[in-house]
């Protein structure tokens, strides 16, 4: 979990906005527990705290803390499978080029119906950029939250009215820590690292690289100007996760994008 941004404080602040819309959904959002019950953050409890400590007892619980999210992620997965929607969760630190990669992909592939869920703490900037490609897009503003969770995705895809046989891209909040812990029900998790970052990112943030299926090394057009050892980066990433598949590309110049498109076409067929 993130220790710097106070992630997740007050789900009430989460907003869902379609490109062009100005109304907000999700305010006053309640938590759904594993047993289906809900609560609304009313922390009042009128009883007294006077009690006899000699009556302490321990209740064994043995419950997975992320169990609720995992259950919701499974529900999302079932929905996507029924509609034959292939879902890709894009994760990275801020500024690695997720949105540019999306813009390029959505602009250059016109025969696949795409939809996009954008996650950011604030602003509609990314949704506006993606909307200019013509793809349906919904922006989730997480407020203080530094990751998307399965429940937010559930709300978002209902708003988006996904088409059967489409591809849904989820652009997670830019953060290499918390998004790693939250299964959204995606088919594939793609971690993006740009060559302007340190090549030891996989060693520094191993959980993210451990949970990803694909690693895209972006901005390779900048390699002559920066100190970044691509092979070393791959070596670190493979030490964390020996199943990782790599793409080296520049979403800005288009170099290396064909291999990514080929992978995309081959995998959505499965």
């Amino acid at each position: 979990m993130c220790d710097s941004c106070g992630c997740g404080v007050g789900d009430e602040a989460v907003t869902f906005t379609k490109h062009g819309d100005h109304h907000h959904h999700g305010e006053g959002h309640t938590h759904t527990h594993a047993d289906g019950s809900t609560h609304t953050h009313d922390h009042e409890h009128p009883h007294t705290h006077d009690h006899d400590h000699s009556h302490n007892r321990t209740i064994a619980i043995e419950q997975d803390i992320l169990g609720e999210n995992s259950l919701l992620a499974q529900r999302n997965r079932g929905y996507f499978e029924a509609k034959n929607v292939y879902t890709i969760n894009l994760v990275s630190s801020p500024g690695s080029g997720k949105t540019t990669l999306l813009e390029k992909t959505l602009t250059e592939i016109k025969d696949i119906p795409f939809a996009v869920i954008e996650g950011d703490q604030q602003t509609m900037n990314d949704a506006d950029r993606v909307a200019s490609t013509g793809a349906p897009v919904l922006q989730i503003n997480t407020g203080n939250g530094c990751h998307l969770d399965a429940d937010m995705i559930h709300t978002a895809y209902k708003e988006l009215q996904l088409k059967d046989d489409s591809v849904l891209f989820i652009e997670n909040v830019g953060n290499l820590v918390c998004p790693a812990l939250f299964d959204l029900g995606e088919n594939t998790r793609v971690v993006i690292i740009s060559v302007t970052e340190g090549e030891d990112k996989p060693a520094k943030y191993p959980t993210m690289f451990d949970t990803a299926n694909i690693c895209i090394i972006n901005k390779i057009d900048l390699l002559p100007y920066v100190q970044f050892d691509v092979e070393k980066c791959k070596e670190y990433a493979l030490q964390v996760n020996h199943h990782l598949e790599f793409f080296e590309l520049s979403a800005t110049t288009g170099e290396g994008m064909d291999a990514w498109y080929t992978w995309l076409r081959e995998n959505i067929k499965k």
Partner: protein
């Protein structure tokens, strides 16, 4: 923070169902590879507990060591990071068997 909130939510619900008046201890199993920073969890925990049955309760964390299984030579060994190197054959092809746990183990309540 959302993880601390989930922990306190689950614990308070259990305590409430049990008819308890307050919670004195919440016990967790946290694997070394669970991606959880214990200090930061503790910090968030205290603020999340305010105004709930768990106010002034103590968070007890059992750290679960990581265990890896080498897919090349079948050796099992203790690991403390995802970059696990097999001590026998020096391969990185290691499957993680234990250490990702993030579980609410038990809640001690007052009647």
């Amino acid at each position: 923070m959302s993880i601390a909130m989930s922990i306190v939510d689950i614990a308070c619900k259990e305590a409430q169902q049990d008819g308890a008046s307050s919670i004195s201890i919440i016990e967790l199993d946290v694997g070394k590879l669970a991606g959880i920073m214990v200090d930061s969890l503790q910090f968030c925990y205290d603020s999340v507990c305010k105004g709930t049955l768990a106010e002034n309760s103590k968070l007890v964390i059992n750290e679960i060591a990581g265990k890896g299984h080498c897919l090349k030579c079948d050796t099992e060994f203790e690991i403390d990071s995802f970059m696990a190197l097999c001590p026998e054959c020096e391969s990185y092809e290691v499957e993680i068997k234990q250490g990702r746990e993030l579980k609410l183990k038990a809640v001690t309540v007052n009647e």
